[in-house]
Amino acid sequence: MKNTKVTLAGVELKNPVMTASGTFGSGAEYSEFYDLGALGAVVTKGVANVPWPGNPTPRIAETASGMLNAIGLQNPGIDVFIERDIPYLKRFDTKIIVNVCGKTVGDYCQVVERLASEPVDLLEINVSCPNVKEGGIAFGQSPHALEEITKEVKKHAKQPIIMKLSPNVTDITEMARAAESGGADALSLINTLTGMKIDIYKRSFALANRTGGLSGPAIKPVAVRMVYQTAQAVKLPVIGMGGICTAEDAIEFILAGASAVSVGTANFADPYAAKKVAEGIEAYMDQQGVEDIRDLIGAVG
């Protein structure tokens, strides 16, 4: 029997494919296209302790093989999320991973505490959003700050925590080790790369926020490299993402050392993308005679 199951910090996923935070809402809109039970896990849009209105529009711009976004983490806050989104996701045979954002360490701790008694499998701590002025990336660009926030969040969290790393750093391994020292249970990367687009006819910024996070296939080689370096540097399981559109892309990340992968921007180009990646991995395994997906993790070189 072929095995597609992977384990992340003690949580077993039926397959290694999940959704990238912010591209899939809380799953409701995509569940109109397919049964979310096809996925290993659904990762929700970032949620804070209180509702956040997000940034002014335009919030997105298309770029070659990718896009820039500066949504600014618009979210309804933890109360509505617990009342509405968790029960909805519970209807599906998939794991629930809640992406958590905040402006202060206290904000993050408040959210993970509220989630302690909820039927949530893992928490993904977003310390890497480039689109909000306070919090977010401030914690994700200094190894010291990252280690400290990881320690604090870990103290308050009941579920295992995944620290989501930013690629906007000089040395990703330094950040990965800091999160590991702080007690993270897993790492996910990459969040978006900070970018900018200018409308040359209007001579203005394409995004109201001026800068935005670059995602999509354009960033994939950078992401694969960072996942590889991270997997080499730490013992923690790594969740790889950045431009995954097909099963082939996903396998590349797994070979680089990812135990699981997330599909993000590709959901916009094809609402079935994440499901197709999961199916395609099985097809690849059959074709290549791979019995156990775990044999592929880090199997490059």
Binding site: E29, R59, I60, I71
Partner: protein, 258 residues
């Protein structure tokens, strides 16, 4: 379950400089769609990842056809303009809410590439209202398109910026020139036009429905790219930001900030 489908191209023609009329076969969409809704059109070139939102111009439910009228403004619409009979294109829809059609004397106001959805709106209104109640005001920069179709369903009044046809000026200038009156307004067009129409409706106390435009990524309500500011808290995030793709694109003019 919703589904994205390959639609067959029935025919395409250029109806004005840079403006194309595309008939596609999409039976499921044609069966469900109504005036004011839109489709997401996907590029065959995978380096363009985001779908292009295009309003439904006309529906032929019997044949399962949908008509889209769009202006070439960039690489995506340029690609679509090359589609020929027998070709195919991936589409998703119908998306968004559409115009809630009401009885009474109506203004159907379209500006530029906001005119196409008024064809189906007029067509649907003609089933519940007399021709004289369907007052269509179309504002063009210069070159006109879809005027024949619009005349077929209602009374057409034209405004052009350069005065080459109809009233020289804006859609509101045309309304004033002809001393037109209405109980309800449906409008789609550039933001300055929508602002002016909203102000006019406010002064006259007329119920006014406007179709909004914003950059989209998912097109289905998941990514929060396409929000517009609303006067009341939205029921998704509870922060006064409504999603144009899901909560709209049609809003009551008093419901949104312009």
């Amino acid at each position: 379950m919703k589904s994205r489908e390959y639609a067959k191209v029935i025919r395409q023609e250029k109806i004005a400089p840079d403006v194309y009329s595309l008939w596609i076969e999409a039976p499921q969409i044609a069966a469900e769609a109504k005036a004011g809704q839109f489709l997401s059109l996907y590029s065959a070139d995978k380096s363009r990842m985001l779908p292009r939102p295009i309003s439904i111009c006309e529906i032929d439910p019997d044949r399962g056809y949908i008509r889209l009228v769009y202006r070439v403004v960039g690489a995506g619409t340029e690609e679509f303009s090359g589609l020929c009979e027998g070709g195919r294109i991936q589409v998703l829809g119908p998306l968004g809410n559409g115009f809630p059609l009401k009885e009474g004397k109506a203004f159907l106001i379209g500006g530029g590439i906001g005119i196409p959805p008024m064809v189906q709106t007029a067509k649907e209104l003609s089933a519940i209202e007399d021709r004289s109640s369907i007052q269509i005001i179309a504002g063009y920069r210069s070159e006109q398109f879809l005027a024949e179709e619009l005349k077929h369903y209602g009374e057409l009044y034209i405004a052009t910026e350069d005065g080459c046809a109809g009233t020289k000026g804006t859609v509101l200038d045309a309304i004033r020139e002809h001393a037109l009156e209405a109980d309800v307004i449906y409008a789609c067009g550039p933001k300055p036009m929508l602002r002016a129409v909203k102000a006019y409706a406010g002064e006259k106390g007329i119920e006014c429905w406007i179709s909004m435009e914003e950059r989209m990524a998912c097109g289905i309500g998941a990514c929060l790219a396409c929000t517009c500011q609303s006067t009341e808290v939205d029921n998704h995030t509870h922060v006064k930001n409504k999603r144009v793709c899901k909560d709209g694109p049609v809003f009551l003019s008093t419901e949104v900030e312009l």
